[in-house]
């Protein structure tokens, strides 16, 4: 019996020739990522269990990226970033992206690939559920809690159960107004928020092959919204070229065998996919944009690890070019690199940033910002009963702030087109 890409990566990391779904195995991690929300607790567990003077298992293996609560007056949030600073100093860690100096980057999941920490064939554990994003580059990447992360920090190992794989094959050419976000919202809508619990979600087919690296990241980012343990896409030349442009480190590419075993296989024709949204309060509450055109909105939000990358803003810029928004519209680039690109890249001779400014958008510096609510002074946080259309990934009650607010998940095209009207709107490209 052949193996899936997920099984192959896990087998190699466990030093085994083969593994099967359900096996409990100890794997060696390549990278452990943490941020300001879970980093201090992880360090706390690490010190409690291994001792005050313990050293991390591999300095090069640890990446710390404060990104969640970095623009707030809340003292505890500042204290938490200080805990990371202190630890970095103490352990002499090379990869720390400190918001207070020139290493400042922004959202962890967009930073990791930009800085060459996302590499095919490797194992990444992150104290963040959207760590599944990095499977887009053919690695095994999954979210863990502080206790497991403290364990990895000290040992470089973790006990995990090999997940069953589910395959999603998407073939054909997407319409101009249909994006990766529409694909994943459709899939989650079809299988439900627990449709892939503890499974690897593998994405393949000609449509996926045509997608850019960033669009593939958008798909894998939301695997967790269907309960997936990881999302994964086999690396191809695009992946290899991208990773080589970011790092000199060697890496290995795996792909699923022809006779690999899947618990189910879903097929989609790209031509049948339409712009969709997820209505409050669940990522699987799928609605067709075309059926919701009179739904009134108060805010549009374009940002986060799901929808705050360069191409997400390229889509928004195309829609907002020479137009004005009708509702509060937030533009929050995921990282400093994305922000710089928005100033440089142009649509019809005008930089994306200038397009957003003249459209009347509110532009804020890179961070997770209101994607997960956060302290009350967080940029873009919904503090009242706002109805917000957003390129983020979750719309649970209170996700973007107050319990009275509502979040509608959408693609950057739909979020931008809706900003122009104040109603759910199809970008009709």
């Amino acid at each position: 019996m052949g193996m899936t890409i997920t099984e192959k990566i896990l087998a190699q990391a466990a030093g085994k020739d083969s593994v099967a779904p359900g096996d409990n195995i100890w794997v060696e991690a390549n990278v452990l990522m943490s941020h300001d929300v879970c980093g201090p607790g992880t360090i706390g567990v690490f010190k409690r269990e291994f001792g005050e003077n313990a050293k991390v298992w591999d300095k090069e293996g640890i990446v710390l990226i404060p990104d969640h609560y970095i623009f707030t007056a809340d003292e505890k949030c500042h204290r938490n970033v200080d805990v990371l600073r202190q630890f970095v100093k103490e352990q002499d860690l090379p990869y720390f992206y400190d918001p207070a100096n020139e290493t400042y980057s922004g959202v962890c999941h967009v930073t990791l690939p930009e800085k060459g920490h996302t590499r095919p064939g490797e194992i990444l554990f992150g104290t963040d559920s959207h760590t599944c994003t990095h499977g887009a580059l053919g690695m095994f990447a999954t979210g863990i809690g502080n206790t497991d992360a403290g364990f990895v920090m000290g040992t470089g190992k973790l006990l995990i159960k090999v997940p069953q794989s589910i395959k999603f094959v998407i073939d054909g050419e997407l319409d101009a107004n249909v994006t990766a976000k529409d694909i994943i919202l459709r899939i989650i809508g079809d299988i439900g928020v627990d449709g892939a619990t503890y499974c690897a979600m593998e994405f393949a087919g000609s449509t996926i092959e045509e997608l850019s690296i960033e669009e593939r990241m958008t798909i894998c980012n939301m695997a967790i919204e269907a309960g997936g343990k990881n999302g994964i896409i086999a690396p191809d030349n695009k992946t290899i070229e991208f990773v080589k442009s970011k790092t000199d480190k060697e890496f290995k590419c795996y792909e699923s065998d022809e006779d690999a075993n899947y618990s189910s296989v879903y097929h989609y024709n790209a031509e049948d996919l339409k712009p969709v949204v997820a209505m409050p309060y669940s990522p699987d509450k799928k609605g067709n944009v075309a059926d919701l055109l009179d739904y009134k909105l108060d805010r549009s939000y374009i940002g986060s690890c799901t929808g705050g990358k360069i191409e997400d803003f390229a889509m928004a810029a195309k829609v907002l070019y020479k137009k004005s928004v009708k509702i509060d519209t937030y533009i929050i680039p995921a990282t400093v690199e994305v922000e710089a690109a928005l100033k440089e890249l142009k649509y019809e001779g005008i930089s994306y940033m200038d397009i957003f400014e003249s459209a009347g958008c509110i532009i804020k510096p890179p961070s997770c910002a209101a994607c997960l609510g956060g302290p009350v002074d967080t940029h873009g946080r919904c503090n009242g009963s706002e109805v917000c259309i957003s390129t983020t990934n979750r719309n649970f009650p209170g996700r973007m702030g107050s319990k009275e607010s509502k979040t509608i998940l959408a693609s950057p095209l739909t979020a931008a087109a809706s900003a122009l009207t104040g109603f759910i709107t199809d970008a009709k490209l």
């Binding site: 706390g44 609560y69 505890k76 949030c77 364990f151 309960g227 343990k229 996700r399």
Partner: protein, 179 residues
């Protein structure tokens, strides 16, 4: 030591996500600092919508009256924040009974040893109401409901049972000679 968990239950629905268990604005609290651990407990389940008439932890209190939470499917979906099982544990929750759990939450329950995740097939959240008493017998893997003779069987937790019995991932690794 008797291996039972007994007490009043708090009933929730399907898909209780980690933002409802502990809203993101409280994630500035660090669970390994003891006052902040206690504080996390006072906010446990405060993100539930207003339709829930009973609060899990009363306003101004640090602990709950309900050591057992009963949910439906996909309990604990959403983020990897360990603050979620920790806030429940800090509030005095001993066990969560659900038809299914989201995997990171389940894993975090086990790794931390904060709350016992119990899986059942029966829709217990339809059979009892908030405030009723139930008793979970971990040795015999059954649940007894007050005012009802029906015995509910717990689903087998599989290999992970060993980690729970050891008291979490660190103890398990020590026992098996990993660290």
């Amino acid at each position: 030591m008797s291996n039972t968990i007994k007490g009043k239950v708090f009933i929730t629905g399907d898909n209780i996500d980690t933002d409802q268990i502990i809203p993101a604005q409280y994630l500035n609290l660090v669970p390994t600092i003891s006052e902040e651990y206690e504080k996390l407990g006072s906010y446990a389940l405060c993100g539930l919508p207003d339709e829930y008439e009973t609060r899990y932890v009363d306003e101004g209190k640090m602990k709950t009256e309900y050591p057992i939470i009963i949910g439906g499917t996909n309990f604990g979906c959403g983020s990897s924040r360990e603050h979620a099982p920790i806030s429940l544990g800090a509030a005095g929750c001993k066990a969560v009974i659900a038809n299914s759990f989201a995997r990171i939450f389940f894993r975090n329950c086990i790794a931390t040893g904060e709350v016992y995740p119990v899986e059942v097939n029966d829709s217990l959240n339809q059979m009892v109401k908030t405030g009723d008493e139930v008793e979970i017998d971990l040795d015999n893997k059954t649940i007894k409901l007050a005012n009802c003779d029906k015995i509910i069987n717990l689903n087998d937790l599989g290999a992970v049972q060993e980690v729970i019995e050891a008291g979490g991932i660190f103890e398990y690794a020590r026992k098996s000679g990993m660290i």
